[in-house]
């Protein structure tokens, strides 16, 4: 496991660990009201001692908002990826394991769905359902499902063709048992890598959706919403965009690094 000692791994783990820690701890130390409290006499203040990261157009403390925003971001990303796994894993396994007509039909639909850019799909779903926290999660989760199903199917197909699986099948092992005992454990590494990368994408997608007004709702502390609000004040108060933007970049960078490290360590094909 040399990958876990590399500087890449250390940085990745530190960043992700830091963000997760902030997401878990910030709500304990910062009262949720801090994110919405407004001081009309301190609007668009640059960073100062009183406001280390400055304030936004309603005089809200950006430090409190950006820290509390970590929870929003991660919660949405984890739930959305959870949904896409819950939907995509069974679909992919059924398709890859049973093959034949089921596989053909499923993959045709998946291919058609994959032609829709994930963000466009999420945007459309969110427009259909109406934007709020729960629907944002569903929209992102569903939009990522075809991608995940495709990956899982590919892995399942690879595993099914392995000699020991064919041997097990020849010895009469039932499908359910086969899937649980042989297929699932063998696609786990690829799934873990994919999950990490998907998390990065989901954080990004949430920000983009909120940025377009079809994601989380104000006054919730959400990085995408903060960037959206900052657009109007870019030239007079650039920090209102830079603060949430940096938070997003740090989180996604951490997840990408972790994804790289995990791939090097777990994915048999990349070795």
């Amino acid at each position: 496991m040399r990958g876990f000692l590399s500087p890449k791994a250390v940085i990745g783990l530190t960043l992700v660990g830091g963000v997760v820690l902030v997401a878990l701890l910030a709500p304990l130390f910062i009262a949720p009201e801090r994110a919405t409290q407004m001081v009309m006499t301190a609007r668009l203040q640059p960073p100062s001692l009183a406001y280390p990261l400055g304030t936004d157009q309603l005089g809200r403390d950006l430090l409190a908002r950006v820290l509390l925003g970590a929870q929003t971001s991660l919660m949405i990303a984890v739930s959305a990826v959870g949904i896409s796994i819950a939907l995509g894993l069974p679909l992919g396994i059924v398709s890859g394991y049973f093959g034949g007509r089921i596989d053909n039909a499923l993959m045709r639909v998946i291919d058609a769905l994959l032609a829709f850019p994930a963000l466009l799909l999420a945007l459309t779903i969110s427009a259909v359902l109406g934007p709020n926290l729960q629907n944002t999660i569903i929209a992102i989760g569903v939009a990522f499902t075809p991608f995940l199903a495709r990956i899982v199917r590919g892995e399942a197909l690879r595993v099914v063709q392995m000699p020991y699986v064919e041997a097990a099948r020849a010895s009469g092992t039932r499908d359910g048992a086969m899937i649980v005992r042989h297929i699932l454990p063998n696609i786990m590494p690829a799934l873990i890598v994919q999950t990490t990368i998907s998390l990065a994408f989901a954080v990004l997608a949430e920000a983009a959706l909120s940025f377009l007004g079809l994601g989380t709702q104000p006054p919730m502390a959400s990085w995408g919403l903060m960037i959206q609000a900052s657009r109007q004040f870019l030239d007079i108060a650039p920090w209102t965009a830079l603060v949430p933007g940096a938070a997003l970049a740090i989180t996604i960078l951490g997840l990408n690094l972790l994804g790289d490290v995990l791939r090097d360590a777990l994915d048999p094909r990349s070795r």
Binding site: T36, M38, L44, L58, G130, P218, P219
Partner: protein
């Protein structure tokens, strides 16, 4: 707080404030030139009868003329009609048309065009926003080429005033209905050249305009919805003028010696709404409690950076029907808490959803501020920001909401304002307000020809709206225009309705 200071720099329409650094008055206009206008919104369906958006009307104002219009005192004056007469019983309107008025398609205005336009507007199949204006019309006669007689089934006091808005009183060439949506044709000072959708609308001077040709050769209305981008364009000289300067930047632009700033109110009024179908908001104590939570002046500062004027009545400042005796409730969180508790909603027990549309970003800001005050008053308020389409479908049509916020442009005519908004059957009564006394007052006013008596009735309605907190009237928002120093004639630009822009007398210094 800054109210006094603010009043010094902005006045009600009719006396617009124009900050024009170092310019002499009484210049002779120069003809020619292309004016590039950074328009704040995207134009949509260009059919004057069908469109209901202030943004599209703003552009169409220059393409169309109506039979009559209003002056800055909100009095009806002739436009395409040379004169008009109303019979004493209010049942017959006779319009005498100007002779030799040309349409952009080369045809000459006749009584047939008026009949065609009015009948098209009245036809439910057209889907005209103002079709109800003609509800009491029994028939339209054209005894000769330049005379139009409109007969009514019963007196309809606001009829003439309603015709003064282009949406109802516009005259289009007979038979042009099908092309109006994409290539509008009218009798206005500019003709429509083309629209590159979402990007720009191009208008050109109509040399045969009956009231003398405009000065400008061409107007390019570039549709730039991002406020800061508009401002940057004005600064760099890509644009000659912009409407709707971002509220937080007005002071800064006023300080810029190379730019002129024109501000006025009302551009529109804003108000906070409750859904009166819900048991919760049938209780006047609850409505008053929400009213009491709001510091209107502070909200105006917070959401609009002070670019407006708080008001307790939705009537235009220069409207004779305006009730000047009513005032807004001041903020009193403790009283709001007490009222809510009295109504059976102790602190922490009330959850309210506030729906706002992202079409007006300052509504989203307002909602966030109000939610903070609601929290202090022990109410848990959740915000749902909706796209314009969703707001229209959920709030306007399905009336599926608890609280919301909206604004109205150009509604200066009191019947339109009070009947549509507060009568139980009013077309704009999406709040399900049902107060029999208001219904009676609004109906009585509609049939009352005497102006003073009629205005008194409208003042009673304003009293009730305020007293019962049926809605919370917040403010008149300022309109603003920023222009480069070479743009002249800005004082003639804003239509009395506060929203439309008239480019007829605007010109460019060379």
């Amino acid at each position: 707080m800054k109210r006094r200071e603010f009043l010094a720099t902005t006045t009600a329409l009719g006396a617009l404030t124009l900050v024009t650094p170092g310019r002499l008055l009484a210049e002779t206009p120069v003809a020619g030139g292309t004016l590039v206008w950074g328009h704040s919104e995207t134009t949509q369906n260009l059919d004057m009868h069908q469109t209901g958006t202030a943004s599209t009307s703003r552009v169409l104002q220059n393409i169309h003329n109506a039979l009559v219009t209003v002056n800055s005192d909100m009095e009806v004056v002739p436009q395409l009609a040379e004169s008009y007469e109303v019979s004493d019983d209010g049942l017959e309107y006779t319009f005498r048309l100007r002779a030799g008025v040309m349409f952009h398609d080369g045809s000459t205005l006749t009584s047939e065009d008026v009949k065609y336009s009015f009948e098209r507007c009245a036809d439910p199949e057209t889907g005209a926003t103002n079709f109800e204006v003609f509800n009491d019309v029994a028939g339209i006669e054209t005894p000769d080429e330049l005379t139009v007689i409109v007969r009514m089934t019963r007196p309809n006091a606001p009829f003439l005033a309603r015709l003064a808005e282009n949406g109802a009183g516009v005259v289009m060439p007979a038979g042009s209905g099908d092309i109006q949506g994409t290539t509008p044709v009218g009798a206005g000072p500019f003709r429509f050249i083309r629209r590159e959708f979402g990007n720009e609308v191009v208008l050109e001077r109509f040399d045969d305009y009956w009231d003398g040709p405009a000065h400008l050769e061409r107007i390019i209305a570039r549709e730039i919805t991002e406020p800061t981008v508009r401002l940057t364009g004005l600064r760099t000289g890509e644009l000659h003028m912009i409407n709707d300067i971002p509220a937080e930047r007005v002071a800064e632009v006023e300080g810029d010696a190379s730019l002129q700033v024109l501000t006025w109110f009302p551009l529109n009024f804003d108000f906070l709404n409750f859904n009166h179908d819900l048991e919760l908001f049938q209780d006047a104590r609850v409505r008053r409690a929400f009213d009491l939570m709001i510091d209107k002046e502070m909200l105006l500062q917070g959401a609009l950076w002070g670019q407006g004027e708080t008001t307790a009545s939705a009537s235009f400042p220069n409207d004779a029907a305006r009730n000047t005796d009513i005032t807004q409730r001041g903020q009193d969180i403790a009283a709001a808490r007490a009222l809510l508790s009295e109504a059976g909603h102790p602190p922490g027990s009330l959850n309210v959803v506030f729906k706002v549309t992202t079409n007006y970003p300052y509504h989203v800001e307002s909602a966030q501020i109000i939610a903070e005050w609601a929290r202090e008053a022990g109410v848990n308020m959740t915000i749902e920001q909706l796209t314009w389409a969703d707001w229209l479908s959920q709030v306007w049509v399905d009336r599926d909401f608890q609280m919301t916020m909206m604004n109205f442009f150009t509604i200066w005519e009191p019947d339109r304002l009070y009947f549509s908004l507060w009568h139980s059957t009013g077309g704009f009564n999406y709040r399900n307000i049902n107060v029999p006394e208001i219904d009676a007052l609004a109906e009585e006013a509609r049939g009352t020809i005497d102006a003073d008596a009629r205005n008194a009735l409208y003042r009673r309605i304003q009293d009730m709206v305020s007293e019962e907190a049926l809605d919370v009237i917040l403010w008149f928002r300022n309109g603003s225009i920023g222009a480069r120093s070479e743009v002249a004639g800005l004082d003639t630009l804003v239509h009395p309705n506060g929203s439309n822009l008239n480019f007829h007398k605007v010109w460019l210094r060379s």
